[in-house]
Symmetry: D2
Subunit: 482 residues, 4 copies
């Protein structure tokens, strides 16, 4: 309520109450001021009232909410459904312009502010999470894979002769496809990067594409070494940090890599790190102009939805809240590791030693595999129907063709991994209760599988269970029985 | 309420009322059944109650809403903010999987249904809008430009030697950049496609990239001829149909082109055609497997937000409602043309004859340009501050460099257009009131400019006004004083 | 956004856009200013954006939304469920104080403003609807009946010897019970008020309790005559105007009655006149101090929900919108009368002549009643199950005891009405489509009843149907076959 | 999703996922089944998803949401504003019917279910809170005072000669006015009920009206003794248990009173006990038919809003959640008492010994009162402007006339209380942080008052501060300077 309206209100309700009400308003405005001024995540989370006030203030600055506007363009932010308008807080114009996804829209001062502030707050969070020297970032309404593609396409402009991307193998379709989609040929490094690979000649190498967060037993790439090599040979370096923001180890690797070597950009998922719906990523880097080049490669406007989600979320959390979540995740990771170890040993299995992987764990499934070759697959299926989501079994001997490239031992990141295993991860937001339920159900499944001879289960049932399991395993098609 | 709960309710409230209540529920379910069964937009729009019931039903089928779920994966659809959860109707898992943006997610049966049904309903709408033989389409949470880029990247896999894209010039940055971003070299056709251009050799041509909807005085490309040439030479053909769905003429061009020649895919904006927020596009085609290839090129999951928006909107509208909006747009276009003609003549200008452009109109600004060389720019600025959004003035002699390519006479689609002009469009959702307000304000601005000598206005004021105007003109940077 | 925050925003997004955004904000604020200043319903309805902004502004002035508040009282506006907080726009403190439902709450400047403005806007609407000289009113979160009770209880303080209420009979339980609940004895006037009734002695008469809106064939009381008698004998006069605001005739009666005679207060339902949920009423009168006395009789705070609903609704409608709804209702009344007349004649019945009743109509059911004595009841039941809601059949010969008083011919407002009949009303919000559907279904039911001999229908079925019908008939318990 | 629609969905998305989705739905339905079957508050709170599903299911059973309904009655549940419809979850018909606020509405099976279930769940909560033998209750959309009035009005029908209400004094306007409004004469008992008061003759006594929850230093009435006297003399007994549900002591008093004596009804506030918005109360008793009589006294339908709020809230909390809140309140009460004691002693004051009052505390203000006679008032004002809400100062010597009755020493429940004091309460939902902030601010205020001589403060300032303080003190008008 502006001062004029407050004055009139004082005639209706007694002045001292109105004055106190206006003073209360100013405390909300003060929070908004701090946000605008500092561009940082508030330490204490805002309450919903302040958040909605802020979004409302932004929305009425967009031309589609001007009371006197007349629109004769081809895009006027008209919305048919009030359900849709409301769910977007009437911020309809998206973010960016034709030229640049980070640009300001004349028709939408509010949406533009939203975009700028979101990017600024997210940058602050990346620093808090461990990459202190990151200089620029932007939220892009595409998932991690497509965001990596955009990075590679940007590099193409700078390295027209680049044809190959050096890629330490990680068995996850999106990151492999991100290179294919961009039109490059991945050079798959089965183990560590060896010098002789560079026979390709640096000028034909578009970049190195490394990974931090990944399923155990794979561990993050040795980013420092890779970054130093890249620096030495003048090869760009893009890091897939999909769900690494939640881990101080992953963030530290990036920080160190950039300090002693070369990292051009690192890409992370919004949903996996910030507890928002699927659909956005953050592209960040140490050189502001390169990050801007990437943002300018996105041709056209884009959805503001992921930006809106992450902004609401971070304002709700506050940086304190985020730090707390990070700590809880770390603690739950330790707890999960202990529980899984105990369970594994009780069943004659073991927790694989993957101390460098700070998020994902793996437990061997040697025993039940020896009992019956379909048992590992069956276990996956059983867990799925028992609502243990995200637990993932990896049998031996899969072969998978992705975009023409044959991966032996697919899912295990290696041609021949010694044993089948089961993955479980402690990702942000996980609770002790999740772990307890998972361990309990897993224990029950393992007992059932051992007790009954799976060979007795009819072929049909097995196939059906296995089929649903196959689809569940998010990036894999298993050919059972091969 | 299932039958068991209804039975119990009959003990609480008299049975005949509960029975009538349950029967009423069945009418909602019947609507949902028809949607699922036919996969088509209902003829009569649904009310909000049915829509929200349906979305609620979908949401509880996703694992993040399972009451007994325990999640130990790296992506579990956890959402921190209840504001965010609610605004997405608790549909958090996005759409697609690593392998394919149109694929089913095991963790999210509801989101998967949403995705499938949306694509199916949107396909139905494209048919209703005029492309009767379209065989497949999908909603992609990227704006038109990036969606075109995805099409080009898909074609690269099929035509590895293709380097050039034949592109009849249209002065809009996104479509030009969509080719650059994909790593190709546009061959800009200043006028019509001439045979000699094909000296490039068909094998080096990735595709032809044509346009339907565009600012007047440019008119849609002659799609039939282009499609026939593409067919003859075996060259793929991608159509930028940005805001063409709302025009039966544009849709007819595509339908005809595909019938007698070759069109591989056509891409259209969601927001410009269906009155939803910015952020989504539809990629459609006549060959289902090619459309699928494109969808598989998108590496990773993606935001469900644009799908959700368009589904809610189409279910609200019903096909009747959409047809009505299309008819109203057509009528308002005629009305706008008449009013603009009258106004133009009153000011000694004329409505440019662009009968083939069914959406955008242009009125000459010869007179005020002769009076003062900054007057055209000033007019744009005046309209902007008077909340006439979307009206766009095009002065003579702009030169603009986009991604290294120099465009003379930028904005006018031609190196030397004979006169400066002003654009106004009748896009879907426009009202008679918009037209009236625009004409009234435009009239006033023109009178003011003529009355006062703009030369007298101080340089500073002019520059400031012009600057804001420049930014407003969405895809252009004008260099004043040239 | 206050000016300080706007200034900071100008550093983030270009100043001219922010300035335009702030100007746009001012147009919303201007609307709010006009509302606060005039206290009248805006002529043009506000859009949802302005309404929600206004409610948000009010909410942050309440102490439960103060960011720095600490509460150590017994009522602090704490809300457990965010669903609940949100649905009340975080306005939690209700309206009024112990002393007066219209009083200001120190803890809740926003809620207090809401309350004041609502009462002011509603007063404006009563004037618009026809009672131009009404001087005061307030919204009370109780339905019409309980609000009448409150009026009677207030009168008791002023007329301690009053024991009787003169009440021209209208067969609707609530209004009868409103007197019983207040502890008075109704003197039921079967026909018109006759002089001899006044033998009671004016000092023992608490008041006259008259009625405007009612089911046909009863027509509104002759308010002018009643008001003149009341004036002459110094007897208070309370008018039950339940759904009369929507009819200019009813409102005119009140205006005239007050002009030439005495009307102390008139009470009307919020939901029946203003299309809001059930639960509120307006108590209005011509003497401000008496209306205040009534408001002070309500002991304690009260729900703000009905006030909030009616304020949102009236701001959405605008006075223009309300006038339009009133006109449409009038037109639909005429249409319903015509259609019902045609249908009646086609079935050998007639539309009862009740020209003084401006809302409710009645059609005789002589024919089917003569055919079978349960047919009338059966018709009601059939209409209910066919989702014709609100149509009400009135058989002959009902006897009903309400709070000890025996009503012969209950529902028909008369001891012996000549024929059974069916009621249908044209209330605010009714559409032509409602009428068409009703006529069509009624026609079908009548044909069915005539075709098949209802006597053949098993006793059980009939009883069951009749039972559900009985319950449906909102204020009646029929004793079938008695 | 019903089974038919699920089957169709299995053709769209793979059957095993749909099946899992449907199974997940059943867990929600199972919760609903338990609620309907048991009519009790679930132990574990429901999540918002289940709550909204349930409300949605209820809403579509109401005729205003029937897709094929045509309405020709005078009340059809039409709602103009979609904001309003949505905030009520489209439950528009309110609760009850003309005859009975607890009755079923034929037009609204869903709302009727809501009403019944709410009353049932609330009854369960009263038992959990300590009144184990309560047999019936209903939620009424009126605040405590008006609900008490309704109880008295009901008693009038049973005791037509009753004129007086025996009322142990408690200085809160609402409860005094509740008797006046009902038309009775309160017999104010300054101390405890003495035998000689009964000289009135039991037949002229309508009832005894006793109190549990109240501001310290007053303590709850000795309910057991009162109940035994009432039993002995056959006098009805109504208990004002305004915010007593949150205290096991208050509830125990009622339980004991009913066991060994007579309690006809006890009335409690919804907002003060269950953290919902202001506007509802619960009328409960030990004799089902008497409670029903009260509910039948409410003439007409009523707002469902308070029922909806409390149902949502209790389903969210679960009984576990409520028990936890009760325990936390108790603990915070102890904490507040300790902190206040420490503070009081530091300032030379003392915490009044009021061990029987389980919610409210009082600290003497002897010292500052002696310093300056306006200082106590000033302290109240200072606390108000420092956003300490609910803290209430009670100076000596107030005299207040309420509805003609003069109360000496008003606010202190006694004609001459020995010292002025300050109240603070630990009500449900209070946090340790509230206490800390209150103590800190109070400390500061006391120091300031002592430091500066309030006499020096200008008369105007003082008056203004005092005035705002007066209004703040919710049930009091102080005459300063008397």
């Amino acid at each position: 309520m502006n001062s004029e309206n407050a004055s009139i209100s004082e005639r209706i309700v007694s002045p001292s109450y109105i004055r106190q009400g206006c003073q209360a308003r100013r405390t909300h405005e003060q929070l908004i001021r701090l946000l605008l001024e500092k561009g940082k995540c508030p330490e204490d989370g805002w309450d919903e009232s302040t958040i909605e006030l802020f979004l409302h203030e932004l929305a009425i600055m967009d031309s589609n909410n001007f009371l006197g506007n007349c629109g004769v363009g081809e895009r006027e932010g008209r919305v048919f459904s009030s359900l849709v308008a409301r769910r977007h807080y009437r911020l309809i114009h998206g973010i960016g312009r034709s030229g640049d996804i980070a640009a300001i829209q004349p028709k939408a001062a509010g949406s533009s502010l939203l975009n700028r502030i979101t990017n600024s707050v997210v940058l602050d969070m990346l620093k808090i999470a461990g990459v202190k020297t990151v200089s620029s970032c932007f939220v892009v309404p595409m998932a991690t894979g497509m965001s990596l593609t955009l990075c590679f396409l940007t590099l193409r402009q700078k390295r027209p002769t680049g044809k190959y991307i050096i890629w330490p193998r990680i068995d996850q379709k999106s990151c492999f496809k991100s290179m294919i989609t961009a039109g490059f040929e991945p050079v798959v490094i089965e183990n560590l990067l060896e010098g002789d690979e560079l026979q390709l000649g640096p000028e034909n190498i578009l970049c190195v594409h490394s990974t931090t967060s990944c399923f155990a037993p794979r561990v993050p790439d040795r980013l420092e070494e890779l970054a130093m090599i890249c620096d030495k040979y003048g090869i760009p370096h893009i890091v897939n940090n999909a769900y690494g923001v939640q881990s101080s180890k992953c963030m530290h690797l990036i920080q160190q890599g950039a300090r002693i070597g070369r990292i051009d950009a690192f890409v992370q998922s919004l949903d996996k790190n910030f507890m928002v719906p699927v659909g956005g990523a953050i592209i960040a880097g140490f050189n502001e102009s390169f990050v801007q080049e990437i943002s300018r490669m996105y041709p056209g406007r884009a959805s503001a939805s992921p930006s809106l989600d992450v902004l609401i979320t971070l304002l709700s959390m506050g940086s304190k809240g985020y730090r707390k979540l990070l700590q809880e995740r770390k603690d739950t990771y330790t707890y999960l590791a202990e529980e899984l170890k105990t369970l594994a040993e009780a069943h004659g299995e073991r927790l694989l030693k993957t101390t460098h992987n700070p998020i994902s764990l793996a437990m061997s499934l040697q025993g039940i595999d020896q009992q019956n070759d379909k048992a590992v697959t069956l276990l996956g299926s059983m867990l799925f129907t028992r609502q243990v989501s995200g637990a993932r079994v990896v049998p031996l001997g899969n072969e998978q063709t992705v975009s023409g490239h044959v991966f032996k031992g697919f899912m295990s990141h290696a041609t021949e991994y010694p044993c089948p295993y089961l993955n479980a991860a402690a990702a942000i937001g996980i609770t002790k209760q999740d772990v307890d339920l998972c361990i309990k159900r897993l224990d029950k499944c393992l007992k059932n599988i051992k007790k009954e001879n799976p060979a007795v289960i009819s072929e049909d049932t097995l196939n059906e269970m296995a089929e649903s399991f196959n689809e569940e395993m998010s990036d894999v098609l298993l050919f059972l029985g091969t």
